[in-house]
Amino acid sequence: MYKMQLLVCGGTGCRASASATIVEKLNESLKAHGLTEDAQVVTTGCFGFCEKGPIVKVIPDNTFYTQVRPEDAEEIVAEHILKGRKVARLLYENPETQEHVSDSRHMGFYQKQMRIALRNCGVIDPENIDEYIAREGYSALAQVISDLTPEQAIDMVKQSGLRGRGGAGFPTGLKWEITSKFSSDQKYVVCNADEGDPGAFMDRSILEGDPNTIIEAMAICGYCIGASKGLVYIRAEYPLAIKRLQIAINQAREYGLLGDKILGTNFSFDMELRYGAGAFVCGEETALIASMEGKRGEPRFKPPFPAEDGYLHKPTNVNNVETFANVPVIFLKGPEWFSSIGTEKSKGTKVFALAGKINNVGLIEVPMGITLREIIYEIGGGIKNGKKFKAVQTGGPSGGCLTEKHLDTAIDFDSLVAAGSMMGSGGMIVMDEDDCMVSIAKFYLEFIVEESCGKCTPCRVGNKRMLEILEKICQGKGNMEDLDHLRNLAYVIKDTSLCGLGQTSPNPILSTLENFNDEYIAHVKDKRCYAKQCKALARYTIIPEVCTGCTVCARNCPVEAITGERRQPHFINQDICIHCGVCYTKCKFNAILVQ
């Protein structure tokens, strides 16, 4: 039996920073010191603290090493494992007190978190089903298929108050019940792992860190709705998640936890993977099903819903990865326990991917009802470089921006919609005072224009026209009428698009128009971008007191807009200037002022 274990993060982020080499080096060092009997190296899923990866956690003393490099492995083994001395330079440093924090439970990043969907991520080896079973894995499935009727099991999911984590928040138990009511010779359980929001990576991390939980939950769902086949629609650009899920499926089959007559009951269930090509629209369930059938990934009109007419025209239940990850826990701990967490209408926890101008970039799981302030300042460690908070974008291209006035709102499905945004899959991109909200809206719209499938006109043409207006505004060629056009067009697209993608695509525009109207007006009326992001609107002037008259700017200006005598202050002619910024980068005396 091992006395110590070294848990090394094997998520995509940490692997990109050579965590696989760290595992090798740790094993080599343990061997060299004759400690292979005492300590074991385990590759786990994501710890969430991606900002400071790669992470190595030493158990049982919970020592949390950050930004470990392969060459640090020998020191960790020689000092910590052999002699029991922690390697101080690799410990997390509290940015406020500059003190080393050794125990991860004392880090601000983890203190407010509550991990249900991510319960096994960073704890178990995802490629070893035994570790999942040791943590009560497949016990929920065993309990459901041996002791409960499908109706009883569905009731428990309903009682728990679990809502779909993919974005819209539809009650999961109800969805299962509806699908269970349709009779058919074959039904399907589909897991939507087509995570497409820019900046969201929770589904990938769950699949990479705890693939067995998805298999178990899909089998439970299959039992409830009467399906014997499960399909995971996963994007091909998640190779590690695919690999680990496939390993988990193979291991579950070998144990007989997938296949015919599971655990001696009459319930049979098996599953396979379907790869997506990474189209955003395929996250919409009807487009997803079309893509799985080998057709073009285009949505269709609902109803009929997939519960009645889904994959191969059979009743199909589609749930998102994170939704499934919550299911086994509901049966293990009881629906009452689950529904005691969260707010009145949104139960449980939500995983958020923190990104953007925030100190602790990473993956967090928090109870519903937490405030944005707690997430950003306590867990996220505040804004990078001490800048001022401006907005946070939630829900990706379908969501909107929340501002300072929303910082103390308790976050759940309904409060975010009321604030003009949405939960979405849980991407959270934090912006500071240097971000131009018009450019941000433009960025999301570019994404939508790229990803629109083109089936319905409002989305295909409308979004393109909106993008043209925004480009015009960022060029400094907009007028006040454009803002009205933008708003009208946004409402038309919202009301008339076929699927969720189009219906929500104007959200980033509408919410920035609502919350940052003055920025739009500054762009249109004053032709200014105060965040200095829109190049065409930047105004370059020379500070006469600082200018030495070295002539470097004048010689480099491509349009000869700069004039002045040698050793005398120079001058930029605003009528000729094309805002290229060359003078600013060339000036050695910081004499160019950008406004």
Partner: protein, 129 residues
């Protein structure tokens, strides 16, 4: 791999597998467990701390005691190595000196189980963070 054929099979399997996960489970809530720290600096190791630690781990497993054994650096009692610090939940830590395998078992049997103090306790006049 042998198939898991019933609910009981799964339960048995889980029990077999739990051991390897045990230290990870325990590390989540060490406050509620007896925490045993073996000083493992150079002096401690030279005096046989590694054997003592192995003995403690075995004993705890055998007696099924909710405890977590960790190693720690030099505690400063180099003259009295190997030293072992035991902290029971809600109590002040107690440091035992000159611990060998026999004494280690005594610590478990007498102090951890019955709260009886033994000879060779060092004054623990320090604070840890």
């Amino acid at each position: 791999m042998t198939k898991i054929k019933s609910l009981d099979d799964l339960r048995q399997k889980k029990q077999q597998l739990e051991q390897n996960m045990e230290i990870r489970e325990k590390s989540d809530h060490p406050e509620s467990l007896v925490q045993i720290k073996v000083a493992m600096a150079t002096c401690g190791i030279a005096s046989g701390a590694r054997t003592v630690m192995n003995a403690l781990v075995e004993k705890i497993k055998k007696e099924n005691i909710a405890a977590v054994v960790t190693q720690t650096g030099c505690m400063g009692y180099c003259y009295a190595e190997p030293t072992v610090e035991v902290k029971k939940p809600g109590q002040d830590p107690v440091v035992f000196s000159y611990v060998d395998v026999k004494k280690a078992e005594e610590i478990v049997d007498k102090y951890i189980r019955n709260n009886e103090l033994l000879d060779g306790i060092l004054p623990a006049n320090y604070q840890t963070i």
